[in-house]
Symmetry: D3
Subunit: 65 residues, 6 copies
């Protein structure tokens, strides 16, 4: 029954998302005993202006490194 | 006081969202005893590339059915 | 395909949750065109110490009203 | 270790988000004892069609006020 | 930079969670190009009264099957 | 209108949460132009078994440091 939400920077390719969805589902089936058909995964994509770690937006980190 | 987040495929019309927001609020007032003015609802819309069930992205299901 | 998360104060009865889950699912089927079996709803219950509106925790509002 | 998600109307400027991310991180370090490098903040921006309070979409409130 | 939230029924063992956290992190590093130290995962555990699919609480499904 | 969800380890005191809720609300009013009465904040507290960074549960980090 897991609901999975993955909040991440936009820009991953379709193939990357396909692989991630497939493999995370496998993990939850194999290691958490979830039933495959009950697993839903959403990717919530945000821009570099909309994600911060350590108090700094990603867009600002890019400027400096 | 409920915060409601509904993560769903993009593409619903304004009228559909209007109805959903209105009716879900009614449900929470009537059946959960929430006060109307304390209820907030957000629709987080994702593309067919960004939603998977049973390990398969919606965009891939469409191809096959 | 909607994933619904309802974050609310703890304390609703089983019967209240049963009704809310049932009716919100109806709303999403009828007004958003979702397929019933794809809808999942989670109730994330928090204590009065863990919810604030207008900057004030619910536990503190109770003291004053 | 906090994960922070802020769901809000789109339209804030980069400078506003920069300030919010910086200051919320400070609050969590100073008042919750979180370590700065463990704090991540995401802004999930939604349109006026995708946010409702008291059962009314923001887009509809704008029409009337 | 992904923030991952997994909302699931309570009852998984520590070993199960350990494996899931480890493996999902691997997937995001390998297939989404995320940096390991930027990935955070939270398990939000809910009771059988607090999770529904197809409009039916898990606690009620258990009664019937 | 922001909905804020803060997912963090359990164990903060009431006074800490009170301060965090108050100050984050101020930040959103002052820097994001949100109206105070529209801001809701939920603390979703998780145990050390239910939070991982870099692929390692907090409960396992504690063992080693």
């Amino acid at each position: 029954m897991p609901q999975v939400q993955i909040t991440m920077l936009e820009g991953r390719t379709l193939e990357q998302k396909r692989r991630v969805a497939q493999r995370i589902t496998e993990v939850l089936v194999e290691d958490a005993g979830a039933s495959r058909e009950a697993i839903s995964i959403s990717f919530v994509e945000v821009s570099k202006e909309n994600y911060a770690s350590s108090g700094v937006l990603v867009v600002d980190k890019k400027k400096n490194s």
